[in-house]
Symmetry: C2
Subunit: 413 residues, 2 copies
């Protein structure tokens, strides 16, 4: 019999308990032994819950109970989750978590403790919600060298961009609807500024490249500067704007970033709309593999947590966690070296001169776009692939003849 503790009875926590008891019989078959949730930790009271007898407010009750072999942390954030997870691992309990902030900022340290204590630290739910991605990369694609990983990692921003693209709705209005539907928080900063996507690409990159990438090392832009004008031009380019987190291998180093990107409609990533997520992994042998599904939500995330619980029980006594090492971040190249084509929108009082300057600066292959509502004093164009540094320099030179209204990188996935 394996006893489990669930830390936090919010959306994911209550979902975890629900999914666990709904599928208990089947899960026990897969775990190979009886399972039960012994404790649920929450500061609040739930007197009407069918699990009211399991609630505790003092984490030490769980920590000091040797019967508890698996702790499921679904509180989120760093405090107090980090202390709870760390002391659970140190006490020889396996931990499963959906907490991307924790894994992105403390993963290397926690994985090291898990290894030393011969227990597991699993976090399938931290990226892609219910989409299996961490374990498939770890166990199924191991015969590949993964060169590139890119994903639509945040459902809230994808929902907002979908509203802008499909319904011609402005950013603010789309955000409001996302908030009304419960997809966006009242303070939407972590989503719309790309912080959530950044944590997730950090976890994926650490996993793929074997060294911890910290969020501070990642060039991160959100979608707040994307306008309906951009959406229209890019529609005419047979493409869609998506918030992408990506990490590319360059020898022993990587380039990594989170930013809105122009994605051609034929890409598997362009068809990912609403709150869905998709992650594209490029392996040297297997080519592109894409994982698609609901990246958030109570039951999808809970189902990933519960799968990890079963794995932790099944592998008790062995440390099957993937591992990556801590790193001084010197393997993360400056983002100025990132090379891609760019969509640029400018305005100018003298469009003809501006157009000549654009061609002179960005080359003959520059592709000019047009949109139905294009003002007479506006130009939009797609550059050839250039480094971030070059593009910035060229935009600087362009500013003599035109002012840059917007720039979005064009990715080729």
């Amino acid at each position: 019999m394996a006893k489990i503790a669930v830390l936090g009875y919010g959306v994911v926590g209550s979902g975890t308990v629900e999914v666990f008891y709904k599928n208990k019989e089947n899960l026990e078959k897969k775990a190979g032994e009886p399972l039960d949730i012994k404790y649920i930790l929450d500061v609040r009271d739930f007197p009407d819950s069918p699990y009211s007898d399991k609630f505790v407010k003092d984490f030490d009750v769980i920590l000091n109970d040797p019967e508890v072999s698996v702790v499921s942390e679904v509180i989120g954030g760093i405090k107090p989750a980090y202390d709870f997870v760390k002391s659970s691992l140190e006490a020889g309990k396996s931990v499963v978590t959906s907490n991307k902030e924790l894994v992105a900022s403390k993963g290397a340290e926690l994985l090291k403790i898990a290894k030393e204590k011969n227990v597991n630290f699993f976090f399938e739910a931290s990226v892609g919600g219910g989409i299996p991605i961490i374990r498939p990369i770890h166990t199924c694609l191991e015969a590949n060298q993964i060169d590139d990983i890119a994903g639509i990692l945040n459902g809230t921003t994808n929902f907002i961009l979908t509203k802008m693209i499909r319904d011609g709705m402005g950013f603010d209005e789309a955000l409001k609807i996302a908030q009304e539907l419960g997809y966006a928080e009242r303070n939407p900063t972590a989503d719309v500024e790309g912080i959530d996507a950044c944590r997730k690409i950090c976890i994926l990159a650490s996993l793929v490249f074997g060294k911890h990438v910290y969020p501070d090392s990642v060039h991160t832009e959100g979608i707040t500067k994307v306008t309906l004008e951009d959406v229209e031009y890019i529609d005419s380019y047979d493409s869609k704007i998506k918030l992408i987190g990506c990490a590319q291998r360059h020898g022993d180093e990587i380039l990594i970033g989170v930013f809105p990107a122009v994605i051609r409609n034929e890409s598997q990533l362009a068809g990912v709309s609403d709150v869905f997520n998709a992650i594209l992994v490029h392996g040297d042998a297997t080519g592109d593999v894409v994982f698609y599904g609901k990246g958030a939500g109570k039951l999808p995330t809970a189902s990933a947590v519960v799968s990890d619980i079963v794995s932790a029980v099944k592998h008790r006594g062995t440390s099957r966690s993937l591992t990556w090492n801590d790193s001084d971040q010197s393997f993360v190249r400056p983002f100025d070296e990132f090379v891609c084509a760019n969509y640029i929108r400018v305005s100018s009082n003298d469009v003809k001169t501006a157009k000549n300057t654009v061609v002179k600066l960005f080359g003959e292959k520059t592709e000019f776009l047009s949109s139905k509502k294009q003002p007479e004093n506006e130009l939009a164009f797609i550059t050839e692939a250039r480094s971030e540094k070059e593009i910035k320099e060229l935009c600087g030179k362009l500013s003599a003849d035109a002012s840059v209204l917007g720039r979005i990188r064009v990715l080729d996935y």
Copy 2:
């Protein structure tokens, strides 16, 4: 040190050896011990191969060598693969295979032997080539009850359909190109008649529902009857024709089939073109999850085989294979009970009367389609969802006023 034998040095076999030695160092890290391929079994000679010292022609050399703990069967077909796999398992060796025909027809028996001998029988490469699908379903989605699984499981037919859809090319011409490019065999029956897709949906259904589904129990249609006329009408319906294998849970029973299907363009499956495969899995908690990638080819398939080899080494001494039980097939419902909308194309000398009859028989909600090249004596329409049995009866009644030229089921994934 784990010693491996590779049976068969064809496309997948030579790819397996190539991927193995290319990533050997990394694989050993993951397996936790040194690895080597000790034997390669093939009837042919390869004197110029860098691995020429490993070739043997007599399977008994491998079978009787206690050093060999993992056998990788990549010969394909039933004879002699079945005997080799069975005797390897009986001798206490784990087996990994890419052989869908073998798994679809003998899976239950071979899994049982593996269990009894406490060894593993893995077959990730048998479905979806390099796309991780078997293990993710088995280990990552286990907190879900999977209700429905549907996929584009055959790259050759998807390539042919893509040529028909994108380039307006006829079936025969598209098949010829597929053959020239090496995507289709000289005898293309197994692909174009749906037999290959059938084997794969059998494997997936057996895995998901826990009971072996044999190919003979599965209603199987290929794509040879799909015409360019159908492609055009269905394009006007904002949809694409795809060869789909699907299995649905209905209580303790299932409905399963392989057939060309109309898929709406907004579906993730509609965007899967050329030789790509995609598998959609619907879990009760996680919703739709889609796995997408190259479903065949030397290196993708080999990379899945090599991943299984590493897993087999890592789990030596324990039987971690998924399992399903043999079955008398009584849980497979008659395909006549399959319910869906249908696209039907008819011709009639009296189109007006025929149209009235269609509405009378199929109901007011019947949606008529039109295409640019539509002949005057032709009608094409989409029915409401009805059982296979009803549709067939209604088509029989319709034949008084019109002759049915084609019928394609409409699926809602």
